[in-house]
Symmetry: none
Amino acid sequence: MSDSDPRTSRTGRPRSTEADAAILEATRASLVDLGWSKLTMGDVATRAGVAKTTLYRRWAGKNELVVDAVAVLFDELELPDRGSLAADVQGVVLQFAALLERPETRTALMAVVAESTRDESLRMRIRDSIVERQKRLVLEGRRRAQQRGELPVETDAAVANRTADLIFDVIAGAVVHRLLVSAEPVDTDWARQFTLLLLSGLGPGAMERRPGS
Amino acid sequence: MSDSDPRTSRTGRPRSTEADAAILEATRASLVDLGWSKLTMGDVATRAGVAKTTLYRRWAGKNELVVDAVAVLFDELELPDRGSLAADVQGVVLQFAALLERPETRTALMAVVAESTRDESLRMRIRDSIVERQKRLVLEGRRRAQQRGELPVETDAAVANRTADLIFDVIAGAVVHRLLVSAEPVDTDWARQFTLLLLSGLGPGAMERRPGS
Amino acid sequence: MSDSDPRTSRTGRPRSTEADAAILEATRASLVDLGWSKLTMGDVATRAGVAKTTLYRRWAGKNELVVDAVAVLFDELELPDRGSLAADVQGVVLQFAALLERPETRTALMAVVAESTRDESLRMRIRDSIVERQKRLVLEGRRRAQQRGELPVETDAAVANRTADLIFDVIAGAVVHRLLVSAEPVDTDWARQFTLLLLSGLGPGAMERRPGS
Amino acid sequence: MSDSDPRTSRTGRPRSTEADAAILEATRASLVDLGWSKLTMGDVATRAGVAKTTLYRRWAGKNELVVDAVAVLFDELELPDRGSLAADVQGVVLQFAALLERPETRTALMAVVAESTRDESLRMRIRDSIVERQKRLVLEGRRRAQQRGELPVETDAAVANRTADLIFDVIAGAVVHRLLVSAEPVDTDWARQFTLLLLSGLGPGAMERRPGS
DNA sequence: TTTTAACCGAGACGGTACGTCCAGTCTTTTT
DNA sequence: AAAAAGACTGGACGTACCGTCTCGGTTAAAA
């Protein structure tokens, strides 16, 4: 995760391996206490028991540090097999919502996204560290649904990828928008309703075609 | 829009009405040039030909100012009648995407949303000034679809409202996530594919059931 | 005292005569509470129950206002006849010291003097309002001493004036310096010692020539 | 001179020793150009080629900074041996007057004295940095006069000290008052007249007893 | 009695400086 | 060579007053 690698350096004091973990942990703690805009590099350094210099030696700035600190949290997301596509979708929606309600992700995700609109490398870092990594959930869900016969097997890989991206944006986007922009809760009811919409669509009779889980 | 209302105060020099407009315009210009994080109150004041004090007399801070400056841009969104629900959805998606690609909204929206996670009053301001105001698009689209017979008339107002909120979160969320988080373009193809998903759902055979517009 | 005279203006609402007194009183009160550097025009206006505009209509600024507010206090100084030149000097020294220990004069006098070093008109105002007015004490004291035969009658008016100025500077300067610069108290002992020095001088045997009061 | 002492701190970047000198020099320059009341910390910082933060790290504020900047100028005062007590006194009076006519001392001294009336620590700083340091002139002058036999040797140290303080207040006070309060020049004539008064006193026949130097 | 003109309060205005905070860098000593 | 400590430049922050400028309204002499 850290930027520069202590690659071939053979001499000198080696980098503290504990420091990295302590810094990321301190960053998350600071996010919880202060939120993105009040978080400072100095505060993180103090919490981590580390000099500010050490932070800058490993991360280019606040944005990069926070992305790394938060990215790992998204790896907690899992997709336990609940037996049907609808149940799986509903489950991941609620999991994702729970993650976004934690204070460290709540404020951090939108903030770094905002910064990334003016910083290409940050945008790539977010894409690599967070977005792409979590597409696994969509792929896994589809694989299971296909095994169950709930979805047809897509043969064209390009189409399959495009569809996976679309579904990811729809699910993640809806949850993020509901929680952070509309500022309304994502509860079981909403998750069920959303799942129904996602699977059956809005079209005529669609909502009735597949009676709620 | 401005914060404190000199409403009943009858005495004293009245606030300059021109200043408000000049400040909001300057804020948008500064957003274009500098982006959210580099925008400063001093710069806005200078651009508006106004003292910094005047800004703080009317807005509590950067966040509130930017929400007001940006909110008006969302009112530009329209829903021209394109003859079918699918065409209307696709049209509004592209319009919304175009709005979010303007530099002043691109960076500002996510940033104030990030700040709002720690500021209840800011969250309300965003909801009132932006979110609620644009739900009109969903309501209008549904009304037309019902007139056309594309959608059944929902008799239960509560259900109807809940569904409208859901659809708004799905549409807006998907576009925002695609553009700002995934950092991929929203072009006609994507809009068509998304509309298809929204109307027909993901279920078995759904994507084939209603061949793309 | 006020700056601009409503000179030949015959019509229009006349200036409130009560306001002047209220403002000067408020100025002294503010000096006591806040001291020179913390005193603000706004605070004085509020205390006086008057608009800031009214202050600026009558005085050019803080300096002029404070000089006028403080000058009147110096008029309280008197020279009761104590029977001898030494007693008279000692009396006026103690009186002057008491005046300079009042918080409103303590801070104000030095401050306006400091400002006057860069402001010719202020310097004149101080000289007219304070310095020249109090020379009466020296003149009166000398007149009495001459009547008592303690001092010879000076026939040359120019020399007499020059000497009076000198004595005034020495007495006032010593008290001011002792109190405000050296920051030591002016008590009866010091006054007696100073009087002895002033009357007998430092020269050989001088201090013994006129044994203490 | 600087406020906080990084005394025992052994680690970290040490304070720039050049900065101190540059700041004090810049302070004097700013005093000359702008005077006390127009002098700003920002301007001093700019002139010194230093960040404002650095000023505040070393001095508590404008007052403390100016006292330190001006104090060193008083060390320039000397007491060349002119052969007699009267000549020595007259010499030091003229030297002191010349110092007080320099623009940087003229405005600064009175201003900090004014501020010191509300600030105990500033009062101490002035006393230590300026007043006590210059009493050396009185002590040296008396020593010489005693060697010459112009003054008796005082055996009681307490009395000697008290007298020295008195003389210092009288000389410094008279010059300050003449120059800054009365706003009259201190020229050779005035100095001679003052010296005569100081040495011979005001008493009957005193002024004639010791005809002017 | 009606002008009429200067007054009054309130408070917004463009400015300037404040003293603080943080970003990111640099310079020491210590490990 | 990396680490901890902490001073450094630079710049924005939000506040406080400055002195000025509208306002709506009042007050007394002049017409």
